[in-house]
């Protein structure tokens, strides 16, 4: 048991959670404006490819992140235009974006990286890790806080920024209003469409970071469908946290923890397929629990007894 639960599990949790965290933030902001961002997966996948490609071409992880963000925003804007301007069903356009991302990255890896399936060349420049020399001597600090990837720190900062934005600023108040009663916002002179575009752009930024972190921070490679449902895990975490960034973060940490524990179970002779299955089963369970809690608490609030 001690092989599974030790000090390194804490960082392993953070590590597994961060890609899902960015994905979750990507759909948290849109959900506040009542847009179910099914395309999270696609935004993330596209930008993860763009990140790797830029990193290989320019040798700069910073430019890579920047380009990943740009591509994320472009994908989010395609969704936004389709949904807001041309009244596309949000689920349909979301799935369309996912399929598009799958196809275009498959094409891109063949055309631009000259391989099919997986690319993990040594010329991928990853996102650096922060090494604090002062932590070296303390086992706890070293295991838990040392050598974090920059984007892992950024993820936590983003949680706070997003929370502040939504619950402390006028803009956040307006977003929450648009999500709950758009006519109330419109009659208050708020340009609902413009606000929705703004929300989608921020969502694209988060999705871009999610992708960049996945291929340059979490792992240094790109593979077909590398996101593997992480976008949907992000949506599950968003539901778990009831669109509150802080609670959402908590949700992703649970997912990360399960993922890390699963990885350690492999040495116990459990078939690899079951270990690979574990995060998905767990995510569904959490999603169901979150919705069950929501419906029962709503029912309780409405009860006359």
């Amino acid at each position: 048991m001690s092989k599974i639960f030790d000090l390194t599990l804490i960082y392993a949790t953070i590590r597994s959670a961060t890609p899902i965290l960015f994905a979750a933030l990507c759909c948290t902001i849109t959900q506040q404006a009542d847009i179910l961002n099914i395309g999270t997966e696609g935004i993330m996948l596209t930008s993860s490819f763009v990140a790797v490609l830029t990193s290989v071409l320019t040798g700069s992880w910073m430019i890579a992140i920047l380009m990943a963000i740009v591509s994320g925003v472009v994908m989010a804007l395609i969704m936004a235009v389709a949904n807001i301007k041309y009244s596309a069903n949000i689920c349909a356009i979301g799935m369309a974006i996912n399929m598009f991302a799958l196809a275009i990255t498959k094409f891109g890896i063949k055309r631009f990286l000259g391989t099919s399936g997986t690319y993990s060349g040594p010329d991928i420049v990853g996102i650096p890790r922060i090494h604090v020399a002062a932590f070296d001597n303390n086992v706890f600090l070293n295991e838990v806080f040392n050598n974090w990837c920059i984007t892992e720190v950024l993820g936590i900062i983003m949680v706070i920024v997003m929370w502040f934005l939504l619950f402390r600023t006028a803009w956040g108040l307006r977003v929450r209003c648009v999500g709950r009663f758009p006519m109330a916002a419109e009659t208050a002179g708020i340009n609902v469409r413009r606000l929705k575009y703004q929300v989608m752009i921020i969502s694209g930024v988060m999705g871009g970071l999610a992708g960049a972190h996945l291929t340059l921070g979490y792992s240094k490679m790109f593979a077909e469908n590398i996101t593997n449902g992480r976008g949907f895990m992000g949506i599950a975490a968003m539901n778990f946290g009831a669109q509150n960034p802080i609670l959402v973060w908590g949700g992703t940490l649970i997912f990360g923890c399960i993922d890390s524990i699963g990885a350690r179970l492999q040495s116990y002779g459990i078939p690899s397929q079951f270990i690979l299955m574990l995060p998905y089963i767990f995510t569904i369970t959490v999603l169901v629990l979150a919705m069950w809690r929501k419906t029962t608490s709503e029912a309780r609030k409405k009860s006359a007894l």
């Binding site: 600023t169 006028a170 208050a188 409405k302 006359a304 007894l305």
Partner: protein, 512 residues
């Protein structure tokens, strides 16, 4: 009077929705410091006209001037900037947010990048003090009453600096007593130099409060008159275009018979705190109409949903013709003899994407002769539908028209035709004439009267107090999910019912 003195001028306005002319060459103007009523039937175009002034719709033709300045591409934002405020019929308040957040929305005072709630609170307090409007800034909207929500709406417009207040059917949600208080607020606002547009179809209120009255009918502007030069009868004629008798009095031909519906100590959940049903008991007998009166949102909808099986009964029983139907699924409740005209016609009552015939046959499409060997027989459906269309005078007289395009009155006739044809012992009619034109109102009320004559029991819910008083034999008054009084319709006065609607009578009883 020269044009400069008008705060608002709307000239030769036209507005089409798809193929319907909602507003057709209409005019409206407003002087500073006056209360100007805009009256007309449902669908006359009053709301549409005012929504154009508020920038929610763009007119297809015509000129809108505010303070003499011609406005183009008006948006709500611009309208607010020009001092226009609107209290919508359906309140524009976000349930999950607090009163304070709702009021400042869009015009948030800021401290750095955050919202300055203290500043906002201070500013709102001045309006509360000035106009004696009690509101609780830190409550969430779903915790406050309809009357308070309306005050929040008024403060919202004042907070945004409105000089012109548009009130769309504001008294529909108030008791007679609350109306008096509301009119006092209007008078005070006028004294402070605000100009007020009062949209209504209740002529006695219009006569009480207005300086001038404009009339619209079927999208067209009819005329504008000074209050002192007119009277309710003339206005009614202008509104409808002919003489009308709206007071189809409940006939006493049938002597009430057996108890059909018995509701005993019913408890059920509610969308709002004040709409939770807590211990309601009453009976409806064969051949009588029992009307439920009360301000909207005091649990009437929840009560009906609980009886019809659409909402879970938490305690108590519902008995229909001697059979316990508590928590029956809607289908079983219908089989037990319950018919239901729901209040939300376009959501519950009709499937708007389907044709007239499919809506008419919706209760029995899977039975013979409409379905044989699992396959639907469309010929039988057509025959059945054409029969009902003829009988209930539904227009257009084409069974395959999609109901989306129908007027409120004809849409409602479809629902009523289907439910009356189902022939249950009990007919529940919730807001049967809401949003329908006067011609349809007459026909719907006559239909209900005939159902009663056939010896069926009718439970009528209506926010229109006149309708309840005219149609019912007995009146059940609801306030905050409880019954405050059961009255005999013949002896009751409007003021008396109004008192019960305020929950006043109950308090008196408690005190004495």
């Amino acid at each position: 009077m020269s044009a400069e003195n008008y705060v608002v001028e709307m000239v030769d306005i036209e507005k089409n929705f798809a193929t319907v002319k909602a507003v057709d060459h209409s005019f409206f103007n407003l002087k500073k410091g006056e209360i100007h009523s805009l009256i007309g039937e449902n669908g006359a175009g009053k709301s549409t006209m005012m929504k154009m002034l508020y920038g929610l719709y763009q007119p297809d033709a015509g000129v809108i001037k505010i303070n003499g300045e011609e406005m183009r591409d008006l948006t709500p934002g611009k309208a607010i900037e020009k001092g226009i405020g609107m209290v919508h019929q359906e309140f524009m308040l976000v349930n999950e947010l607090t009163v304070l957040e709702n009021v400042i929305l869009g015009f948030e005072p800021k401290k750095g990048v955050t919202i300055d709630f203290d500043e906002a609170r201070k500013k709102i307090q001045t309006y509360i003090d000035d106009y004696h409007m009690e509101i609780q800034p830190d409550k969430r909207i779903n915790q406050i009453s309809v009357g308070e929500a309306q005050r929040v709406e008024i403060i919202k417009t004042l907070y945004r600096g409105a000089n012109v207040l548009i009130m769309d059917e504001p008294t529909a949600v108030l008791t007679p007593q609350e109306c008096v208080k509301f009119f006092e607020i209007l008078q005070e606002l006028r004294k402070d130099g605000k100009s007020i547009i009062f949209i209504s179809h209740k002529l006695n209120e219009v006569m009480e409060i207005s300086d001038r009255v404009s009339v619209m009918r079927a999208g067209k502007y009819i005329t504008t008159v000074d209050k002192k030069d007119t009277n309710p009868t003339d206005l009614a004629k202008l509104m409808v275009g002919r003489d009308v008798n709206l007071h189809i009095k409940s006939g006493n031909a049938v002597k009430p018979g057996e108890v059909v519906l018995k509701v005993d100590n019913l408890w059920t959940s509610g969308e709002k705190e004040i709409s939770k049903i807590r211990g309601i008991s009453f009976e409806v007998r064969a051949g009588e109409t029992v009307g439920i009166a009360g301000v909207d949102g005091n649990g009437q909808s929840e009560l009906i949903e609980a009886i019809t099986g659409l909402r879970k009964v938490e305690k108590g029983t519902v008995t229909l013709s001697g059979k316990d139907i508590t928590n029956f699924a809607p289908k079983k409740a219908r089989e037990a003899g319950l018919s239901h005209i729901p209040e939300e016609r376009n959501v519950r009552g009709l499937n708007r994407s389907m044709s007239i015939e499919d809506n008419l046959v919706a209760l029995k499409f899977d039975l013979e002769p409409f379905t044989k060997h699992y396959t639907r027989n469309k010929k039988e459906v057509r025959k059945f539908a054409e029969d009902l269309i003829e009988k209930f005078d539904i227009r257009p007289k084409k069974a395959d028209v999609i109901t989306q395009s129908l007027s409120g009155g004809n849409a409602q006739k479809i629902v009523i035709a289907r439910e009356v044809d189902a022939g249950g012992d009990l007919l529940i009619a919730a807001q049967p004439t809401r949003g329908v034109d006067i011609g349809a109102i007459e026909s719907i009320r006559t239909t209900l009267e005939n159902v009663k004559k056939d010896g069926k029991a009718i439970l009528l819910v209506s926010a229109d107090l006149d309708e309840v008083m005219d149609m019912s034999d007995r009146i059940v008054v609801m306030y905050e999910g409880k019954i405050t009084g059961i009255l005999n319709a013949k002896d009751a006065t409007k003021e008396e019912v109004g008192l019960y609607m305020l929950g006043q009578a109950e308090q008196d009883r408690k005190e004495s």
